[in-house]
């Protein structure tokens, strides 16, 4: 039996991150901050893409890694964000920053519409429902006039902060860096909270979770919506950076790529997911030299990683 003192210390909240880890994280952050000053536009561009994937993978990780819901249509929420910004700025002259809350609300709404009736489905069935949803969103974007049809929207307004206009890759690099840090902070906070734990409970044993008083559908829905919101914000910034968006950016392959990032690094754990996301963005670039063989080499690399590290490169201790 434990004495009072140890009970108390065990009950105290653990810090958000461990100290030793914090040092490494700060070092990484310093490198990230300095990067555009040393790297050329191409490297910065790739790094920006990597940061975009960090945000998207962290968002999907909430759905897949925390709540255990296999989502094959995550790019749809990314599209919701991008198109909201695209349409509102180019058609209605909205300020970029005002489109973000609208996009978040739209993503929430989309999440509820598709999630509420289907989240009680078994995981494999949910997979096909989300896949279908992803395709539906893409086809709608392709066929409506307001979304610019198949060729998409061009001339999306670039955002301004305090009179400073984000124009160059470097600017967007920092914007995405801020967004990625924000996403990490949000994930860390939620992971250690009541709802975060509820997601894990539901993921590991739905029935037991219900049996101790967790509303499983509501918990899943909240995870789904939160993932949706994060993707939509990433979408807003993406639209602003690209200035041109088209349905081709939101395909099933895009959803798979994000999922790949989540699993490759180590699902359910933030450092792993960040690593996976970076890898997903970098691998094809590193292998550009392979030409026609690029998909093949990428695939072989991917297979090798999974075979040697089945739990991902930086797995969760929980296994």
């Amino acid at each position: 039996m434990s004495d009072g003192a140890s009970t108390l210390s065990a009950a105290a909240q653990p810090p958000l991150v461990r100290r030793s880890f914090l040092l490494w994280a700060l070092a990484a952050l310093a490198c990230a901050l300095a990067l555009p000053h040393f790297a050329n536009a191409y490297v910065t561009e790739v790094a920006t893409t990597a940061l975009l994937y960090v945000v998207l993978c962290l968002g999907l990780n909430i759905v897949v890694g925390y709540a255990g819901l296999l989502d094959l249509g995550y790019a749809a929420f990314f599209a919701v964000g991008a198109y909201t910004t695209g349409i509102l700025t180019s058609e209605f002259g909205f300020n970029f920053w005002l489109t973000i809350p609208v996009a978040m609300a739209a993503a929430c709404l989309a999440g509820i519409i598709i999630g509420a009736p289907t989240l009680r489905l078994r995981s494999d069935y949910l997979a096909i429902v989300t896949l279908g949803f992803g395709e539906i969103v893409r086809i709608i974007a392709r066929n409506l006039d307001i979304t610019g049809g198949a060729s998409g929207l061009v001339g999306i307004e670039r955002p301004e902060i305090l009179g400073f206009k984000l124009m160059q890759v470097q600017h967007f690099y920092y914007a995405f860096l801020v967004l990625a840090l924000l996403a990490v902070f949000v994930c860390l906070s939620v992971e250690r909270s009541r709802m975060g734990r509820a997601w894990f409970y539901v993921r590991y044993d739905e029935d037991a979770a219900a049996g101790i008083g967790i509303n499983r559908v509501s918990a899943k829905l909240q995870a789904y919506m939160m993932g949706a919101v994060i993707a939509s914000v990433a979408g807003c910034l993406y639209a602003a950076k690209m200035t041109a968006i088209s349905p081709e950016s939101f395909t099933f392959n895009q959803s798979l790529l994000i999922l790949l990032g989540v699993v490759l690094g180590g699902m359910g754990r933030i450092p792993g997911v960040v690593l996976g996301a970076i890898l997903v963005a970098l691998l094809p670039e590193v292998l550009r030299g392979a030409g026609t063989y690029r998909p093949l080499v990428t695939a072989v690399a991917l297979l090798a990683i999974m075979l040697f590290r089945p739990n991902g490169l930086w797995p969760d201790k929980r296994g």
């Binding site: 039996m1 434990s2 140890s6 009970t7 065990a10 009950a11 105290a12 909240q13 902070f185 949000v186 906070s189 939620v190 250690r192 909270s193 009541r194 709802m195 975060g196 734990r197 509820a198 894990f200 409970y201 590991y204 044993d205 029935d207 037991a208 979770a209 219900a210 049996g211 101790i212 008083g213 967790i214 509303n215 499983r216 909240q222 939160m226 929980r318 296994g319």
Partner: protein
């Protein structure tokens, strides 16, 4: 009866296809009691628990908890109303820590959501601390506080059973349903369990209804025993009376040899 019935089951019916699993079951559990449910394998005991906790939807009849009807409510609502359970085959969150398992019981007793967690509101921090403290308290109560930071799946069988209890207790129920808590325990562990069940009632005032095949344990702890056979209630009463009931001997206990 002078005391109020905490749990009241009236004419409960359940069937799967043609199989009548429960037929017009009625009984009640008094507040503060320790009652048992016994019967042959397949009599419908676990199914009854599943009806009480909302996992199965009964075909007919009613269930009241503290006078409030709970028939057909989803499991999480029922737990929130004060009815907790353990499972016949242990269902812990094996990949999570022992403490996190115990904390899960507090979910329905707390309210902060995603937004306040992101904002790190002071009230949310306080609630988190309360949840952890409650989890620790119940681990301590069942005697496994020293394992708080191990993974639940790594506990010995007996300790896993205790953890299930702690988790259910952490939801501060009015009544707790235990499905074969002694299965797989040896004599000494069973004796510990008897003490624990008594302490649950005596120290926290939680009412206990348990399913068990170990007659020694059942006779030791229960004040009242309900006996099922083929989905029907065949006896209901004090341990001695039930033990002597020829119908119960015939259907369940068998003749001593």
């Amino acid at each position: 009866m002078t005391t109020m019935a905490l749990l009241e089951v009236r004419d409960l019916r359940l069937s799967f296809g043609g199989l009548k699993v429960l037929q017009d079951i009625s009984f009640s559990v008094e507040k503060g009691a320790i009652n048992s449910l016994i019967g042959p394998n397949g009599a419908g005991k676990t199914s009854l628990f599943n009806c009480l906790t909302g996992f199965y939807k009964p075909k007919g009849g009613s269930i009241r908890l503290g006078g409030r009807p709970i028939t057909g409510l989803p499991p999480h609502r029922i737990t929130a109303l004060g009815l907790a359970r353990t499972f016949q085959n242990i269902r812990l969150f094996k990949e999570m820590s022992v403490l996190e398992n115990a904390m899960s019981g507090q979910h329905c007793r707390s309210r902060h959501g995603i937004v306040s967690a992101i904002l790190h509101l002071p009230s949310q921090r306080r609630e988190e601390e309360r949840i952890r403290a409650a989890g620790m308290r119940w681990l301590d109560f069942v005697g496994i506080a020293e394992h708080a930071h191990r993974l639940a799946g790594g506990l010995s069988y007996g300790d896993q059973r205790r953890l299930e209890l702690a988790r259910a207790l952490a939801s501060t129920p009015e009544i707790i349903l235990l499905d074969e808590p002694a299965a797989g325990l040896n004599e000494r562990e069973k004796l510990d369990l008897v003490h624990l069940i008594r302490r649950i009632r005596d120290e926290t005032g939680v009412t206990v209804l348990l399913i068990e095949h170990d007659m020694g344990l059942v006779m030791q702890v229960s004040e009242k025993i309900v006996v099922f056979d083929y989905g029907q209630k065949i006896a209901d009463g004090a341990p001695e009376a039930v033990r002597a009931d020829p119908k119960v001997i015939e259907a369940y206990l068998g003749t001593e040899d």
